[in-house]
């Protein structure tokens, strides 16, 4: 696929609108699109969730396997994160091995979860140095209208909290790190960009925040740059918005039920 050419006129219109303090969907700069979360959608997974940010849709599923712990941490469970931008989601997404965007997505989702230490991985070890449970997070972008990063982060953390391991019980997980992505357009900063806003973004910044307002992961992207003050301003807003989103995750999990149905490990054949 050739590089997508976005009409200059469209970029100009989006930039002008932003400059006048507005967004095409009427949101304020510091506002997110409607967040919709459903839990336990994919029954073969030990835990699963789907998150819609506006029209962007990400499905996340957790699979538990058994493997060998890393030699340098013999009594710690293994966490592995994968993401795919499926061709169905966007005409620009091509079939084939993951491109760098998908790898970045997987790693940013991974870092938010890993660095918050929300999963008690030690409890997953079966025989130190020999056998441990492995936690696989798979985030699948099914429909892309911008900011799949946050949608994936929300879907993944919800799915983890929905996870029940056979012969073990619920996944030992405590916190809910939430990612918030900002873009910079000229001197303006916008939270949760939709696709047409991403087209005009000079730079992007994703900030994952956990419960006690610690920042647990960040990722700057795009060819533009951020100032220190801008970053700190984003952190402030990320803390506020992450708390609101966390509440939505909790509501969705509560609506699904305290005792999630265990995965059905049988069948599962194609």
């Amino acid at each position: 696929m050739s590089v997508q050419i976005i009409p200059t006129l469209a970029k100009k219109a989006t930039r002008a609108l932003i400059k006048s303090g507005k967004r095409s969907d009427g949101r304020a700069f510091d506002q997110m699109r409607p967040v919709k979360i459903t839990v336990g959608d994919y029954k073969r997974a030990e835990g699963s969730a789907t998150c819609w940010l506006g029209k962007t849709m990400v499905a996340a599923g957790i699979k538990i396997g058994v493997g060998t712990p890393y030699p340098d941490s013999p009594n710690v469970g293994v966490l592995s994160s994968n993401a795919e931008l499926v061709p169905a989601a966007d005409p620009q997404f091509q079939a084939g091995p993951p491109k760098e965007e998908a790898i970045e997505l997987a790693r940013v989702v991974d870092r938010g979860i890993r660095e918050s230490k929300c999963i008690e991985l030690e409890k997953l070890c079966i025989t130190p140095g020999e056998e441990t449970r492995m936690v696989y997070i798979d985030s699948y972008v099914m429909d892309n209208d911008g900011n799949y990063m946050d949608a994936a982060s929300i879907a993944a953390i919800t799915a983890l909290h929905n996870t029940v391991i056979e012969d073990f019980g619920p996944l030992p997980i405590t916190k809910k790190p939430i990612a918030n992505t900002f873009i910079k357009v000229g001197s303006d900063i916008l939270l949760d960009p939709c696709l047409e806003e991403e087209y005009v973004a000079d730079a992007r910044l994703t900030i994952s925040v956990e419960e006690n307002n610690n920042v647990c992961a960040m990722q700057k992207a795009g060819s533009g740059s951020w100032t220190k003050d801008e970053v700190l301003k984003c952190v402030d807003l990320a803390i506020t918005r992450a708390a609101e989103t966390r509440k939505k995750v909790e509501d969705a999990l509560a609506a699904f039920g305290k005792e999630p149905a265990p995965a059905q490990p049988s069948a599962g054949k194609m």
Partner: protein
């Protein structure tokens, strides 16, 4: 065929382990136009097997050297999400998914009017979200709705379901357990008018009579699916 042993009786007094009769399909749910960006899309549930299919096209053919000057090229990608199965599936295509993509593509080549799309590509992307046997038939049924939803010209819709054999009895639409422990599996795809077989595979052991019965069941199953496909497309424009 799975051929796995099971303690669960698959068939008792004409009832299957999930309560169905031998010629009963699992509950069907179809929705058209579920994705925002795709030219056409559909979601299909057949019992516990769920698929999302998307269609893009006609579009420019890449790579250019693979284009056909006087007709369009169908491209099919069939992918099971890693968490759609019991043991996590490694992402990326394997031999099985390539084969399914091929037979699916050929099934659609029998109905899509490719002459109308010279030098172009029509891309079908099938994603299995949850698997409980019959993923290729559910994916195909979804892709057919997605093609119509995208406005692609074709002589007919295609509907697809499987018959199989459990406890020496031919049954319609195997579930996961039956698929794992059964004796035969016959996925079939039919055109909407119910005359042409567009896809057929079989594994396991069956007599000619059993095969005949399996095809008959599949034809009725496909008819039911066709009705649900048509309903889904109509609902989109009510």
């Amino acid at each position: 065929m799975g051929g796995t042993e099971t303690d669960i009786p698959l068939l008792v007094d004409g009832k299957r382990n999930d309560g169905r009769t031998i010629d009963q399909m699992r509950p069907v749910k179809i929705e058209a136009g579920v994705l925002e960006r795709a030219d056409g899309s559909a979601y299909v549930e057949l019992g516990e097997t769920h698929a999302i299919a998307a269609v893009y096209g006609p579009k420019e053919m890449h790579p250019r050297h693979a284009l056909i000057p006087n007709k369009g090229v169908l491209k099919v990608r069939y992918s099971m999400l890693p968490f759609s199965v019991g043991d996590r599936k490694r992402p990326g295509p394997d031999r099985r998914s390539r084969e399914i993509a091929k037979v699916t593509r050929e099934a659609f080549e029998s109905v899509v009017l490719l002459d109308k799309y010279p030098r172009s590509a029509i891309e079908i992307d099938i994603n299995i979200m949850q698997a409980d046997a019959g993923t290729r038939v559910v994916g195909l049924t979804a892709a057919s709705v997605a093609l119509a939803d995208a406005g692609i010209a074709m002589t007919d819709l295609i509907s697809s379901c499987a018959s199989g054999k459990i406890e020496d009895t031919v049954v319609l639409d195997l579930n996961g357990l039956e698929d794992n422990c059964g004796q035969a599996d016959v996925p079939i795809a039919m055109t909407g008018k119910g005359e042409q077989i567009a896809l057929m595979q079989m594994d396991g052991l069956m007599t000619k009579e059993e095969l005949n019965q399996a095809m008959e069941y599949a034809v009725t199953g496909c008819k039911e699916l066709h009705k649900a496909q048509v309903d889904a497309l109509r609902r989109r424009y009510q």
